[in-house]
Symmetry: C2
Subunit: 195 residues, 2 copies
């Protein structure tokens, strides 16, 4: 969102964290469990990052975003993967994920890359979890639940910011032309008649 002076309005990140936690059921027990399994997961995370970029390489629509920067992207990705098992998932984490969403819209990344990417990563993490804890079904269940929550949490925040950035474009247009939102909606709904 932008205000009447064209300034981008940043959300209240404490509030946004609370909101995202209700949807994703990320809570302190799940955060503790993620820290607890960190040492088991750490040696496997590079494998997740490698798999992620291998699949992306097979998607023609993804190639323009990868060319010449895969190594740098992999490093950032792995660092993020590691942060999922340390936390904390506080306002600062929320703000950093919000900025990741912003970067994605700035490079014109299609929105579905974010949900698609999260699914890709989740699938790999669940596979590893079930492999690691096959003898301990309770731990496997708890770990899947915690990962699902933290990934859902991160995706929600990224998408919130992505959508805000897209809507800023329309806000800017209204501001430039001096057109009201009501007039725009009216024109948009009748514009087929106008043509």
């Amino acid at each position: 969102m932008i205000d009447k002076n064209g300034q981008i309005v940043r959300p209240d990140f404490v509030e946004l964290s609370e909101y995202a936690k209700v949807f994703s059921s990320l809570n302190s027990e799940k955060e503790a469990l993620l820290r607890d399994i960190a040492k088991d997961m750490a040696p496997r995370l590079n494998e997740v990052t490698e798999h992620f970029y291998e699949i992306l390489q097979s998607i023609p629509q993804a190639l323009p975003y990868l060319e010449g920067r895969t190594d740098a992207l992999k490093k950032t990705h792995l660092k993020w993967m590691q942060s999922l098992f340390t936390g904390p998932f506080d306002a600062a984490y929320t703000e950093s994920m919000y900025d990741v969403g912003d970067v994605h819209v700035k490079v014109n990344l299609p929105v579905e890359f974010m949900s698609g990417g999260i699914t890709l990563i989740c699938n790999e993490l669940y596979r590893i979890i079930h492999e690691l804890y096959q003898a301990d079904p309770k731990r496997a269940a708890d770990a899947v639940s915690a990962i699902s929550s933290v990934m859902g949490y991160s995706l929600l925040i990224m998408q919130k910011s992505y959508n805000a950035s897209v809507e800023e474009q329309l806000d800017k247009f209204l501001l430039i032309t001096g057109m009201s939102r009501a007039l725009f909606d009216k024109l948009a709904s009748t514009f087929k008649v106008l043509l």
Copy 2:
């Protein structure tokens, strides 16, 4: 996207299905597994739908979308839940999910409700899976993987259409005003100077 006559361009749903399947790794083995666990899951799906709307009721931002229509929404939701265990996840399913994304943007649903909602539902489904198959870790792992894929697949399609609808607003604006995209981008990037 809209064409130069203001007509909305629908995507090629066969192509979109293929694209979404690469991201979500939804394949015929996973589809078969979903059909296979359908009879175990069927008696539990109502519980997932009830839990979903119970949590939504606790989110103030969700209330305006629920008032007076929760019963109708629950019915549609349960029907969709059931369809996840029957398939097929073909172009027709993709088209129906694309239309669900459209409906969501038409009622002004915030974009993060979709990823948040999917996380909420996944968490419940994984909990039930681990409960049902605690004595069979291989089956639990396969079921989680199949559900993660089909939910990721559905989310990707819904979001693709949601974003297309949001961008149509800007396309309409350009069409109404006769402004080129290049001019808009130029104005948008310098509009702070113009104010």
